[in-house]
């Protein structure tokens, strides 16, 4: 009977940790920094951090889908730079509104190419996207002759710097909409179930009639779409699109958020909410350490250790739920 109770308690804690572990870490983090530095707890700083978390947060949606299917996309940093320089160079010719739409189309197309290479040429996603990382970056350099594209179109700039009712930064609204749509797609539509099925066991998924290749192409295309949205927001924040400096180490930041959020690298299991909270943790942590005058190298140490700590807690959750060893 005692064993049974212990198992039940373990399971309850596992479920609690699975649902509230990361949000709890986030709240503790914000509380600690707010006590340590009063300037951290201002609404301005909070909204500023939320707004900048969209840079990683939006692409983390696409990466969650990709990793859930058991794949990787490490080309997204270069893709972000290429999409940003292409999109912003359209502005003088077609205007801001059409340029935004064209940018998203181009981004989807680049993701689609990745998906085609992975599925039709049977090249592992890691190799394909590693190759495309070089191709996209080189194309960005070639297209611009390594000269940044300056953006003055107010519609485009609004995506990074606009405020709804003069208060809420527009990137926060966009990120919210992206997460709601992605949640509906993943949890309330057959496509979402197919993504989970492909990631859990692609052979079984194929035998049950799911077109595995099409699902993989779809998730890579969605990855492109979310990178496209991030590229517009980021270039609007910066007021320019720089082919060399944009998206440096971006893929690692996004993968860090997704892994920290509890998505299993082996595929199948994933959490959009986890990815969002992880993106918030990373942004708020960096901001807090910066305001606390923590040396930048120690900031990297702290980020790395927190990631390892959070992933080990995630493993603890599965152990408590009786779904794995610790």
């Amino acid at each position: 009977m005692d064993d049974y109770r212990l198992r039940q308690t373990k399971q309850k804690f596992g479920v609690f940790w699975g649902n509230f572990g990361l949000p709890l870490i986030f709240i503790i983090l914000v509380a600690v920094f707010s006590i340590a530095n009063p300037n951290y707890a201002t609404s301005y700083n909070f909204l500023n951090n939320l707004s900048f978390s969209s840079y990683v947060g939006i692409s983390a949606i696409g990466m969650t889908f990709v990793i859930m299917t058991g794949n990787f996309d490490i080309s997204i940093g270069s893709m972000l730079a290429l999409v940003a320089v292409l999109g912003s160079s359209f502005i003088p010719r077609v205007g801001g509104v059409v340029a935004v739409m064209l940018t998203l189309l181009v981004a989807c197309f680049l993701g689609f190419i990745n998906g085609i290479f992975v599925t039709k040429l049977r090249i592992p996603a890691f190799i394909t996207t590693l190759g495309m990382l070089f191709v996209f970056r080189a194309l960005a350099f070639i297209y611009t002759d390594n000269v940044p594209v300056y953006i003055s179109d107010r519609f485009w700039l609004y995506f990074g710097n606009g405020k709804l009712f003069g208060v809420i930064p527009f990137p926060i609204i966009l990120m919210g909409i992206c997460y709601i749509l992605a949640y509906l797609l993943l949890r309330k539509s057959p496509v979402g179930r197919y993504i989970i099925a492909v990631g859990t066991n692609s052979r079984a998924a194929a035998l049950s009639g799911i077109n595995v290749d099409n699902i993989k192409i779809l998730v890579f295309t969605l990855m492109g779409l979310f990178v496209g949205i991030s590229a517009i927001i980021n270039s609007a924040n910066l007021g320019s699109a720089n082919p060399g400096l944009m998206g440096q180490d971006y893929e690692f930041q996004v993968i860090t958020a997704v892994v920290l959020g509890g998505t299993a690298l082996a595929g199948g299991n994933g959490s959009l909410g986890g990815s969002l909270v992880a993106a918030l943790i990373l942004t708020f942590l960096n901001n807090g350490m910066g305001l606390m005058q923590v040396n930048s190298y120690w900031q990297l140490v702290a980020t790395g250790l927190i990631m390892i700590f959070a992933v080990s807690l995630n493993k603890l959750k599965f152990y408590l739920l009786g779904q794995g060893e610790f």
Binding site: G162, G239, L291
Partner: protein, 339 residues
């Protein structure tokens, strides 16, 4: 499927409406503002200077930071520094965070000068003056302290011409990437002076990998393209040291000049590997940037988009020790690498 199409359609319509309404609201808000009103102070102790720095990885930036910090101490200001970690997105986030902290003035050494426009505009709208300490700017700032890079390039060409003394012999240039608009003037000054002195710059190659290895590779390319090159000028410090090592490895007698005055360059000149460098004054750039903010915030002086050139000097084996002693006296830092 129809249900999902309906959801997507409704979402797109809602998003378009939000975007349109808030965009119109924003347009009115922007039209109502504009211009800059600086909040002035009477007590130095009420002033906090925020400094956003490219990176603490390189000596040049460490000296800019020391200059800013020392000036804040000397003038009685509080001081907050945030490291951009060579990340343009973080730079913008940090600048906004400094505005949120309510600093009185900002000094920024931007990793991407093209990307500071909106963040600087945001700071200035909040009444916070911004001074760029080197690198460059985009859009209006209060002041930009920038090395006289064109003159530096001219000094390098004059030095090489004086040593080679034969206009038939070709020169080489290891140039910077086109995105560094202000720093590219180092190459432009060199090319203009070389032309004036009737020297031919037979190879003008961009160092694609900004590092000592990049300098080494580029020098090898110059040696392949122009085997009889008599003198080379590399527009950045580490690249120049790499290039000088490639010259030494080739066994050829080629004059070499760098730019920056990094400790590695001082050591290379002392060791006879590099022949000269153009010295920038990062400590002075940082210190003077804070003095300008003091003039704006305490004295009420008007600065709007003012570019202030900072003088550069030629360092050769002849004046190396004297200049190193001056640097030590002014900054407390050795001009040579730490042992």
């Amino acid at each position: 499927m129809k249900r999902y199409l309906k959801i997507a359609f409704i979402t797109a319509i809602c998003l378009a409406m939000i975007l349109t309404l808030s965009f119109i609201g924003c347009a009115k808000e922007e039209a109502a503002e504009g211009g800059m009103q600086v909040k002035t102070y009477t007590n130095a102790s009420d002033i906090t200077i925020g400094f956003s720095l490219w990176t603490m990885e390189f000596t040049f930036f460490q000296n800019v930071e020391k200059g800013v910090k020392d000036a804040c101490e000397d003038l009685g200001f509080k001081y907050v520094m945030i490291d951009q970690n060579s990340d343009a997105t973080k730079m913008v986030q940090d600048l906004n965070a400094l505005v949120g902290q309510g600093v009185s003035g900002i000094v920024v050494t931007p990793v991407d000068p093209g990307a500071i426009g909106p963040a600087v505009e945001n700071a200035r709208k909040s009444g916070i003056p911004v001074v760029c300490a080197d690198i460059g700017k985009s859009g209006p700032v209060n002041a930009l302290m920038i090395s006289d890079n064109f003159k530096g390039g001219q000094l390098a060409a004059e030095f090489l011409a004086g040593k080679i003394n034969d206009t038939a012999k070709p020169l080489g240039l290891g140039n910077l990437l086109p995105q560094w608009t202000y720093a590219r003037q180092r190459g432009e000054g060199f090319l203009a002076k070389a032309m004036e002195l009737t020297y031919n710059v037979a190879a003008n190659i961009i160092v694609q990998n900004p590092s000592a290895e990049g300098g080494y590779d580029t020098m090898q390319q110059i040696l392949s393209a122009v085997p009889d090159v008599a003198g080379v000028y590399f527009t950045s410090g580490r690249e120049a040291v790499g290039a000088a090592q490639a010259i030494q490895a080739s066994g050829k007698d080629i004059w070499s000049v760098g730019y920056n005055g990094d400790p590695e360059e001082f050591q290379a000149i002392k060791d006879g590997v590099l022949d000269a460098t153009i010295l920038q004054e990062p400590y002075y750039i940082g210190y003077r940037s804070v003095e300008i903010l003091k003039e704006i915030l305490l004295d009420g002086k008007f600065y709007e988009n003012v570019e202030i050139p900072v003088d550069v000097k030629l360092v050769t084996p002849e004046n190396l020790d004297q200049i190193a002693a001056d640097i030590l006296e002014k900054t407390g830092n050795s001009a040579f690498p730490a042992e």
